[in-house]
Symmetry: C2
């Protein structure tokens, strides 16, 4: 029965909903109120089983997209030795944002906020041949920054999950090709999540001066401001805008608050020459060209959740969570009539319904089809069965909608009737009910596969911008 | 082509093998020499893509076994606030083994070496109902201990991956049932890995005095010593032995060096009363009974690797790695004839061979079958294709055997011949060659599914002990 998660057994907030003082994100308040997230210390959180399911789906999806561009996944340590950071000059430069500590014999260590130094040292020690170039290695792991003011839930944490890729290429031209490939992969990721994201030129900041681009999701609670031309859709950071006027078409640019989700850097040989990352070519030893590509995984989750929760739910403040299609913690829910009702299910009837879902997902077994299944997106436990014995169907519907489960099948006893139609609720479209066969329900529960093109259900004001802007650099 | 990993593109040690000064584990030296592991600072390592594949397989398998006992996976923060640790009395008790730091405003934090305090605080805040009991929550994450002397590679690190489960039950009897269920799940895990492991009564140590058991793998390099009766097979820690004589049968116990892989604690209400972890029952509010269950994931990997490498390979010191069945980084390899040989493959021939493996694994799609596939064990990239253009088949065989790939298919051009037989090398059985059809090869590559019972290929001196001892407490 690993196909199912039973609500009666699911770890979640046991008390009735309490008010939360947290300001800012509507979705974050809902996460806290439902116990999906729990504050540990300022800027650190416990991810409940529900939250971790979504994070794991996102990670599996990102892994899949990284494998498409030849990404090789590894794991660097969190504890970093000061020597490497001193060598790059960033031990000083990172300042108070870096968590520092000493071990029991007095050696200086840090909790690495990023891994350029470590990646260079690792690759340099391996003394790789150039057949492995372009080399694209990445990890997904906890990162640490001592934020002055952690805020907005998962948007600005002191401990967070980040995916960071480091690329090594033989020359500048090859490094630029990697930069394009990764920028496109990032755009693909945001497009698949159906998240409006704008790519903007940026400054290198703590990475050193170098070409770089950020990916921003327009959100009213955002900490950055974008300046976007309404005609040619070109976006820049408002801080970098010389005037409000678009230089190409002369129109006034519009400003939007936004959240940075990802950052690509064309680092050149700044780190590789420092750490002596070379390979042997016909013309002797050659310093490699480096790039760095980060996505804030927990931040991406928070931004997507806020975007869909705020834009798809018509209430203000919203009372129900909305996840990106295919990335809800559960693909669907089965709400059972309560035990003492006249039309309560017998054990046989319940088993008959559940048996229909046991073999899911019965997708194509081609590994190239890019289905959620092949990307390892947790087929186990993906159907939530609301089996709470004393709760009415109405109350179950309320709870499951609040959690943002996209489809809810309502199941009552048939008392031997052969009627094979059930009520299926489409939560993302405002809770519309359909009449459906169990096969229809199976199709719906597996429909939000990330590979399947869906009609655009996003009616957000920025949506018209987000498809055009992401191929240009 | 995500089914395949190409050796020419795989990040690995580029130089020829260098001698390593590292003492102790033969397998660890091989890991370092091949670049599968790389030292970052004393007791911290970079896991290369090859190493991470194995770790990810182990994690997926442990997740699967935890789901069988109702485990709910979550993620606790690494940064812990001192208050919780002061409250439990362990801020002092952990002493120098705990990494401590202060944030920019001077708050004391630690890198949590374990999460009893955090788990209690989390569950207490959720105010759970008792329908979710028995509650079994766990995480798999990096843990940190400031070891005085990190040694033996992944066996004693300062940063390592640990699976830690925390259980909450309504009463002592229920907590004991959880303890039995988890102890059995642990025995299952070691049995599936075909690793000899003995369960021994232990002391609570830093957890506080409570019933506890450790799971030990006999290894000559181990830091502990077990005393085992050769007749009744009962094992105890030598440190706890009053005499060398078995109290039951009077025989002299034998001693073995061993490594602790896992530890189960029946904590009672020591932490839950401190952190007020209660639920509401008919008789009012009731303090829950807690248990704690840890497996060192990277340590388990190291112990298994050392066990199989040292015991299955007849050379001393061994020159080839051996992984537990089903948990090698790649299920099989395809070694291609070099490009300039008379029987080099044409592109069409190569594609014809690879096409045979594209649809793998074509296993049953029942989620209850417990196949590696359904446990999410990385079907992507699981077949290594040794496509290095200038390397002879002999040299490729040497390399692939050194890496411990269990099956190697040797592929040369057929020049239009319809002979459908190939040479398949069974590395785990000492490199025996078979004549096999491609369908046989597909079957071999998918054979080391953890669910499939295999004949015992373990000829280690302790093997006869390890099946009997793991059900008793």
């Amino acid at each position: 029965m690993h196909r199912f998660t039973f609500v009666s057994k699911l770890l979640r907030q046991g008390t009735t909903i309490v008010s939360e003082k947290e300001e800012g994100l509507a979705s974050h308040k809902l996460l806290l109120q439902s116990g999906i997230l729990s504050v540990s210390s300022p800027g650190t959180f416990v991810l409940s089983p529900i939250a971790l399911r979504v994070v794991d789906k996102l990670i599996a999806f990102i892994d899949y997209k990284m494998s498409e561009v030849g990404g090789q996944k590894c794991l660097f340590p969190t504890l970093g030795r000061s020597q490497l950071w001193v060598r790059s000059g960033r031990w000083e430069k990172f300042g108070g944002e870096m968590f520092r500590l000493k071990d029991r014999v007095g050696r200086s260590l840090c909790l690495q906020p990023t891994h350029e130094e470590e990646a260079c040292e690792f690759v340099s020690n391996l003394d790789i041949g150039n057949s492995v170039l372009p080399l694209r290695i990445y990890q997904i792991s906890s990162k640490f920054r001592d934020e002055i003011k952690p805020r907005l839930g998962l948007l600005r944490c002191r401990e967070f999950l980040m995916k960071d890729m480091y690329s090594f290429d033989l020359d500048v031209r090859a490094a630029e090709k990697t930069y394009d490939a990764l920028s496109n992969a990032y755009s693909d990721i945001f497009r698949t999540l159906r998240l409006p994201v704008l790519k903007v030129a940026a400054e290198g900041g703590l990475m050193g001066d170098c070409p770089s681009h950020e990916f921003h999701c327009p959100l009213p609670v955002g900490e950055d401001t974008l300046s976007v031309c309404p005609s040619c859709n070109e976006a820049i950071l408002a801080a970098n805008a010389d005037s409000r006027m678009c230089p190409d078409c002369g129109l006034d640019r519009q400003t939007f608050k936004s959240i940075e989700l990802a950052h690509c850097f064309l680092l050149g040989d700044k780190y590789t020459s420092n750490f002596n990352v070379k390979t042997t070519t016909q013309n002797g030893r050659k310093i490699l060209q480096m790039g760095c590509y980060g996505i804030g995984v927990t931040r991406l989750l928070a931004a997507a959740l806020e975007h869909f929760t705020a834009s798809l739910v018509k209430e203000n403040p919203p009372k129900e969570l909305r996840w990106p299609s295919g990335f809800a913690p559960y693909s669907g829910a089965i709400a059972l009539q309560k035990d003492n009702a006249r039309d309560a299910l017998s054990t046989d009837e319940l088993n008959g319904v559940l048996a229909h879902f046991m073999e899911l997902p019965s997708t194509s077994n081609s590994p190239t089809s890019g289905s959620t299944f092949f990307a390892g997106l947790l087929p186990r436990g993906d159907i939530l069965v609301d089996d709470r014995p004393r709760l009415t169907l109405g109350r179950k519907l309320l709870d499951l909608r609040r959690l943002g489960v996209p489809w809810i099948l309502i199941v009552k006893s048939r008392k031997g009737s052969v009627n094979s139609e059930y009520e299926l609720v489409d939560v993302n479209r405002g809770g519309i009910s359909f009449t459906a066969s169990l096969d229809d329900v199976v199709a719906a529960f597996t429909r939000y596969d990330f590979q399947i093109p869906l009609p655009d259900i996003c009616d957000h004001q920025y949506s018209r911008l987000w498809h055009e802007n992401d191929t240009c650099r």
